[in-house]
């Protein structure tokens, strides 16, 4: 069988090169670092030097943003080879990607775009995940998306779609709780029932991040998954709720835009660790 995802059940932080020297200056209260795969696909230079140094000291999660798994077109074989080269070189504890597409007709859009949920798209996404897991020789995790629109043709609820994908392919799930909150607000639904019906037994990692609040044409709230601010109080509450159900799960703080200094980011990781440790104690008691 494939190598399964095996991050330590504590908090991690999305790595930003600006923090490299601060991170290496002392041991950090962080269980793992996560990097975007596509930033480490050059031949050499400082990115690999930094990733090599991090990898020696910490567990590593490689998080892809460019495989376009949710596309109905064939996967980009060259990109799969690049991912395999990267995973072989750094042997990360986990590899994850998104339930989304980002390329079409040879153009890379650099965004995580939505897909309708139907039997047809489900079959196609499952094929893509089989192909990726076979090529990489490892289990991958699939992340729930944040979305701003829905498709009239969808016939399957997102949680059921993810559960069925995981069942068919053996992939784990990456539960992004900020995405749950953003999508629920954008679609006028409640995040808690979504969490309640999420296949939590398949969740191998959790993501937490910040969002922006705007309004749509009708004045309804429109939340943007911007990863440019602290985790919101509502998302912290949903996280505590999820963790109370699952027990300790590797949890990542994502902060990709307007990146703060390292102590600020570290404080977010410590806040998540407090919730995680409470949950571990509660489940041990």
């Amino acid at each position: 069988m494939f190598r399964t995802s095996s991050l330590p059940a504590c908090t991690g932080v999305g790595f930003k090169p600006a923090h490299f020297h601060d991170i290496l200056a002392a041991p950090q209260p962080v269980g793992f670092f996560e990097v975007h795969a596509e930033n480490y696909m050059g031949a050499g230079g400082p990115p690999h030097a930094q990733l090599g140094a991090l990898r020696e000291r910490y567990a590593l999660s490689v998080h892809g943003v460019g495989l376009s798994i949710g596309s109905m077109r064939p996967l980009d074989r060259d990109h799969l080879v690049r991912l395999k080269t990267l995973c072989d070189r750094y042997a990360p504890e986990s590899f994850s990607e998104h339930l989304a597409w980002s390329s079409h007709g040879g153009v890379y859009f650099n965004d995580l775009l939505p897909l309708p949920y139907t039997q047809q798209t489900l079959a196609r996404v499952a094929e893509h995940i089989d192909e990726a897991q076979t090529a990489l020789g490892r289990q991958m995790l699939l992340e729930n998306p944040s979305t701003y629109i829905r498709f009239s043709e969808s016939t399957i609820a997102e949680v059921d779609f993810l559960a069925e994908i995981s069942k068919r392919t053996g992939c784990g799930l990456l539960l992004d709780i900020n995405n749950v909150f953003v999508s629920a607000k954008n679609h006028g639904t409640q995040p808690l029932p979504y969490l309640e019906s999420f296949p939590l037994d398949r969740v191998k990692e959790i993501h937490l991040g910040g969002h922006d609040e705007e309004t749509d044409d009708a004045g309804a709230p429109l939340l943007i998954d911007s990863h440019g601010s602290p985790v919101s109080p509502a998302v912290w509450m949903l996280y505590a709720h999820a963790i109370s159900r699952t027990g300790a799960i590797p949890t990542l703080i994502e902060w990709d835009n307007d990146v703060p200094d390292w102590p600020t980011l570290r404080a977010e990781a410590i806040a998540a660790q407090d919730i995680l440790s409470d949950a571990s104690r509660a489940s041990a008691a």
Binding site: G44, D76, D111, L113, P116, Y148
Partner: protein
């Protein structure tokens, strides 16, 4: 497999004049223009941001507003063909060269070429530069026949404009000042270790390096350099090449075909 949702979605992403894709909706029915605009904006703004970070000096020269407007045109005309955004914008210099509103700054495209070369050098393969002792050990009679394997991070950018001076003044390496000696400059970009270095090449230096990189023997490269500029100084250029860590390897001479000049 047909994918109508993808095709109409993709077509409308980069072209704001197209209608929003068929079959998308939102719970409050007041759809969807504003909501679809989130995707349009994410795509265009994200790609413009990638170009901004790669071409920071070009942006400094033309200003944020001009750069963003120019980058938006480029993004729509030549969106990325690969998820490796570090190399997105290799074609921006050629685009700038024919971008009508930038016509008043004829050096801008070459400054962009210099910035693009810096990113390629940053991400190029690593290699340990060869020490000077390897040259001392060479047979003087055969030295003209050697091939010099240039470090993979090496880039040469030739320009009819003082691009190094302009680049240095706008990247904070030198103070902004009027450029008294307005003439062409050839730039050498390299990363022998972890830092990208940018320096000015001496007369004939660019032709010399380009010939070596093309696999010409040392004597042939020297001839090319002298043809390019009679002030070319072989000893000085070789010493600089070795001293700045640009030599990855020396390939031993094969049967001699020309004498060292």
């Amino acid at each position: 497999m047909p994918a109508p949702f993808e095709t109409s979605f993709a077509e409308a992403l980069l072209d704001a004049d197209r209608p929003i894709p068929f079959g998308i909706n939102a719970h409050n029915a007041a759809v969807s223009a504003r909501r679809f605009a989130v995707y349009r904006n994410n795509v265009v703004a994200g790609l413009v941001k990638a170009l901004k970070s790669r071409f920071a000096v070009v942006e400094k020269i033309v200003g944020e507003e001009f750069f963003a407007a120019m980058a938006r045109v480029f993004v729509k005309e030549q969106p990325p063909r690969s998820p490796l955004l570090a190399t997105y914008g290799d074609d921006l210099p050629a685009f700038i060269a024919r971008f009508e509103p930038a016509r008043g700054l004829p050096y801008l495209a070459d400054v962009a070429r210099l910035e693009a070369a810096r990113t390629r050098s940053y991400h190029a393969a690593d290699a340990t530069p060869l020490g000077a002792e390897h040259f001392a050990a060479l047979d003087a009679a055969a030295v003209g026949d050697i091939h010099i394997d240039i470090h993979p991070s090496t880039e040469v950018v030739r320009s009819a404009y003082p691009i190094l001076t302009i680049w240095a003044m706008n990247s904070g390496e030198r103070e902004l000042a009027p450029i008294e000696n307005w003439r062409g400059e050839d730039a050498l970009v390299s990363r022998p270790y972890l830092e990208v270095e940018v320096r000015m090449l001496p007369p004939g230096g660019a032709a010399f390096l380009l010939a070596l990189a093309a696999g010409r023997r040392l004597c042939e490269a020297a001839e090319a350099a002298l043809a390019d500029d009679p002030d070319f100084d072989l000893t000085g250029n070789l010493a600089e090449l070795i001293g700045s860590g640009l030599v990855r390897d020396i390939v031993d001479p094969e049967p001699k075909k020309c004498r060292p000049s």
